[in-house]
Assembly symmetry: C2
Homo-oligomer: 307 residues x 2
């Protein structure tokens, strides 16, 4: 659902309706759309409204929840795991993982550790993985919950692949992966819940998660964003005005970059607004970010000077 603030808010509605969010704005916004009869926070009066675009822009597709999830999972090697004790109580602990090509996490756990004993007795497990560069407000961070069942690799080839995947992601595991009490587990994912921060969230199925690809420009995005904001405020403002639908923008900051486009956080005399502009083509590697943003700037300036 579209959330006015707070944490990981979900309803059965939005699970059916698929991907929806409040424009990626991290601040508290008035809910201007409702989803069916989904419940809301019960308090929306007094929240500032977000100014709408003055110029219609084409659709600017965002990453799907499955893609967001795969990108978060690919970006790190550490997660919190929820397992079940012998009494069926939930147990939270810290683990490391590497992801197979379909995004299934490979764990290396000791049967002497509580989570290892738990999984051996009941294979149900869930991981939560949080973005690596955490914002000061913890709930502004992007995170993903993966839920499913853990299984041991079923044959020698599967075991070898799992082992190689884990060791590549967690080099320190080489010191204990061969201890007799450690085993490799593959978490087969049934259900995915992605939360992009305040007001951005969606669910994905196991098959959608497996079929999605991590964002190939994620590794270069943070540096590119810092560079754009430090040295190219004028270009960002030109993009916001000419291509983002906000000709009244007075400042624009890059708040995100992914394979399909750029997210902007901008100020207007009407208030703060998010905007998104698509690249001309979907990128396949970080090295293309520079050319893609230069091309957007060129297009924006050409539009601004057009008669």
């Amino acid at each position: 659902m579209l959330a006015a603030g707070g944490a990981d808010v979900s309803t059965d509605e939005d699970r059916r309706d698929g991907q929806q969010w409040a424009g990626g704005c991290a601040s508290l916004v008035r809910v201007t759309e409702t989803v069916g009869s989904a419940p809301d926070h019960g308090v929306i009066d007094g929240a500032p409204s977000v100014p709408t675009p003055l110029v219609a822009t084409g659709p600017a597709p965002r990453p799907s929840a499955a893609e967001e999830a795969r990108t978060l999972v690919a970006a790190t090697n550490v997660a919190a795991i929820a397992t079940l004790t012998a009494d069926g109580d939930p147990w939270a602990s810290l683990i490391t993982y590497g992801a197979l090509d379909d995004g299934a996490p490979v764990l290396c756990l000791s049967r002497l550790a509580e989570h290892g004993r738990n999984l051996a007795a009941d294979p149900r497990a869930s991981l939560v993985i949080t973005q690596i560069d955490r914002p000061p407000d913890p709930l502004a961070a992007a995170r993903v919950t993966l839920a499913g069942r853990a299984e041991r690799p079923s044959d020698a080839a599967s075991l070898a692949a799992a082992r190689a995947t884990h060791l590549t992601a967690v080099p320190a595991a080489s010191t204990y992966i061969d201890f007799s009490d450690f085993s490799l587990w593959i978490l087969r994912i049934d259900r995915v819940r992605w939360v992009g921060g305040y007001g951005r969230m969606d669910s994905a199925s196991g098959p959608a998660y497996a079929a999605a690809q991590p964002d190939p420009v994620a590794t270069g995005a943070a540096a590119a964003i810092a560079h754009l904001n430090a040295d190219h405020a004028d270009a960002l403002l030109a993009i916001a005005r000419a291509l983002g639908g906000y000709p009244d923008a007075t400042t624009a900051r890059c708040s995100g970059l992914d394979r399909r486009g750029i997210d902007l956080a901008l100020d207007t005399p009407r208030g703060r607004a998010p905007a998104r502009v698509s690249f001309s083509a979907t990128l396949t590697q970080s090295a293309q970010l520079r050319a893609a943003t230069v091309e957007l700037t060129r297009r924006a300036r050409a539009a601004a000077t057009a008669p």
Copy 2:
């Protein structure tokens, strides 16, 4: 138990026997003690042994597991929570908290979020909280699992205290704490499992956790450690040689500071070893760290020049 490496390894033995660890050394060490008939990793040959002290030193008490847990919980406001879905499946997600005086975490959750729905149906929950300055190797990080049952504050005074505690720890919650779908929950702790990194771990009961106090010097420890290592290598070496039991130490680095003493990581011609030296008195605030380490240095130098 004393663990030769790997992750959160526990046995029923060490839960009965209380606090034990492999000297706080973060690297892979040979297990030189065994606990009853506790299982081990099955692979200890080939691991380097740790040189023992050449001079007997007095006991140098470390923080208890309950104290370590309270210190980790007091240091941040974000945790992963494990709850149970309607099917009894484990569900991992991200939450924020503030801790009451007895260390019980106060959560502020929406009933529209999965974890909020879960807790409303089954109050069993577990949190894992990880040290805030994470080392490059994720499993070298200190973390603590708290397990118990969540309950709503039972009266107006309890509600007011819970609300104030949460808002102090999580200022951003002021934007949503009064939304009608959000509720405060207090997690009453039954069981605590602390892992200090490789080979350092122990359990604590709920009452022991509640009775312990967070380390009052934790907030100043990181800066003091950095200063000691940057500017006072000679003093650290003098402490290691004269007071730490290693007169053959060739280098010494401060690896930890707490209310009761200093942890050192040192090199000797016999190999690397950890050492610990107690302060003359238990400290009550970070401002005392400087005087306490100066006093240790003075004592060490006096001992070194004694006839």
